[in-house]
Amino acid sequence: MEGAQRPLELILARNFLTSVTTPAVLVDGEGTLLFYNEAAAALLGRSFEEAGQMRADEWIRAFAPVDEEGEPLELDGINLAGALKSDRPAHSEIRIRTASDGYRALEAAALPIVAAQGKASGAIIMFWTRTDNGET
């Protein structure tokens, strides 16, 4: 039987994200964006219902993360990818493109979700707007 359903830990993670007001996204083990919550939608200027699930290359293009020097980042260049590849948490300072006000400086923390098989089935990434050096 073909499996249509996500593993329980991702279902519960999505559930959790809908209940918090910290902007947060849920990605699977390949970096595909599976879901983001309403707080993240406010940041990105686009609801998840509108955007839908996106492969890693699609959301990289849509949100255009850049590093401190303004250079575009690929998934591997984002420290957060490490959370998926090495099952380790990761913290990163990035800037992303938002719908309303150009680029915004963010801090991001990624937590791998490891369940029964001992391998990350995805990660929760939470975002905080940086206040030290302001928005660009």
Binding site: A4, R6, I11, N15
Partner: protein
């Protein structure tokens, strides 16, 4: 495939004169396959009476959904455990913390029990339920984690063309309405998809549920929605709240039939489980008879007149 209900109560045994028709014993379901082999689903207090019927069985296989007491309490009173010639195999959820045997031994040990697991006269093997489908004889079994409190499995059991799903403790609507979720985000969806018979949690009425969100169980409305979403051909609602009397459960059965009809489904294909129910899973229509009352399990909505259960 035949199913017999030995216990349909949730949480704690609830015997008493107002509980006689639906029964007070906790979760236990006996499944008999085409080749007469059997599986037992959960070992709530219902398994005690089943054990007496299995007096001569050389081998017994038990699938535990989880280790809450209402699903294992009968183990210590299960007659085959005390027969040296009997081989018992028990599957259950794995845990990073301790083996299945060690976790069950917390109950079957002093001071809670007069015997220790290692003292049981039978030969007993404890297995973590595999992460992928496995076979027990000619039957295919699949276990998946489902939303409850603590590590909990549901089971999908296939014998030839016939499939049963057993998800007695389940809160798929936790945190979001099932109406708002795509299939892939519904706990238990794959386990229950297109089954001939779904046995599913229905602990609460819709009015009771808001005070019990996060307790790991379903309201009637969510149980019906889940059964419909997965395309279950028939559904047997299970794990009745210990506060629900026969009268209350009759009212819930009538409501279930009415709402099922309103969802465009045949009300003959929904029922509340009662201790003693025997169901021929792949029989067409409401071909199931409640022997005690001479009426069909499915489609029974009126309150029966008498109780004959001893």
């Amino acid at each position: 495939m035949k199913v017999k209900i030995w216990g349909a109560r949730g949480s704690v045994p609830a015997p008493g004169p107002t509980m006689n028709r639906y029964g007070g014993n906790t979760s236990c379901v006996q499944v008999t396959f085409r080749d007469e082999s059997q599986l037992i689903l959960d070992a709530g207090t219902g398994i005690r009476a089943l054990g007496l019927e299995l007096a001569g069985a050389p081998r017994v296989a038990i699938l535990l959904t989880h280790l809450h007491l209402d699903h294992i309490q009968g183990l210590m009173f299960f007659h085959p455990c005390f027969r040296p010639e009997c081989e018992i195999t028990i599957w259950g959820p794995s845990s990073p913390e301790a083996s299945l045997e060690d976790r069950i031994a917390r109950y079957i040990s002093a001071p809670l029990s007069p015997v220790e697991v290692r003292e049981l006269p039978c030969s007993v093997a404890f297995n973590d339920a595999p992460a992928s489908e496995w076979r027990i004889g000619d039957v295919t079994v699949r276990a998946e984690a489902v939303t409850h409190r603590g590590p909990t499995l549901g089971y999908r059991i296939t014998d030839g063309e016939t499939t049963l799903a057993y998800i007695p403790d389940h809160e798929p609507a936790l945190g979001s309405s099932l109406d708002d979720l795509a299939d892939e985000w519904i706990s238990g969806y794959d386990l229950a998809r297109d089954v001939d018979l779904l046995i599913h949690d229905c602990q609460y009425t819709d009015a009771e549920y808001p005070a019990h969100v996060g307790w790991g169980h379903s309201a009637l409305g969510d149980a019906l929605k889940f059964a419909d979403r997965v395309g279950a051909k028939r559904a047997l609602l299970f794990h009745h709240d210990p506060l629900h009397t026969d009268e209350k459960l009759d009212a819930m059965a009538a409501e279930a039939a009415e709402r099922w009809r309103a969802m465009g489904r045949d009300p003959e294909t929904i029922a509340l489980a009662r201790e003693g129910d025997e169901i021929e899973v792949n029989a067409p229509g409401p071909a199931v008879h409640r022997a005690r009352e001479g009426r069909s399990t499915f489609g029974t909505t009126a309150a029966p007149q008498v109780s004959t259960r001893g």
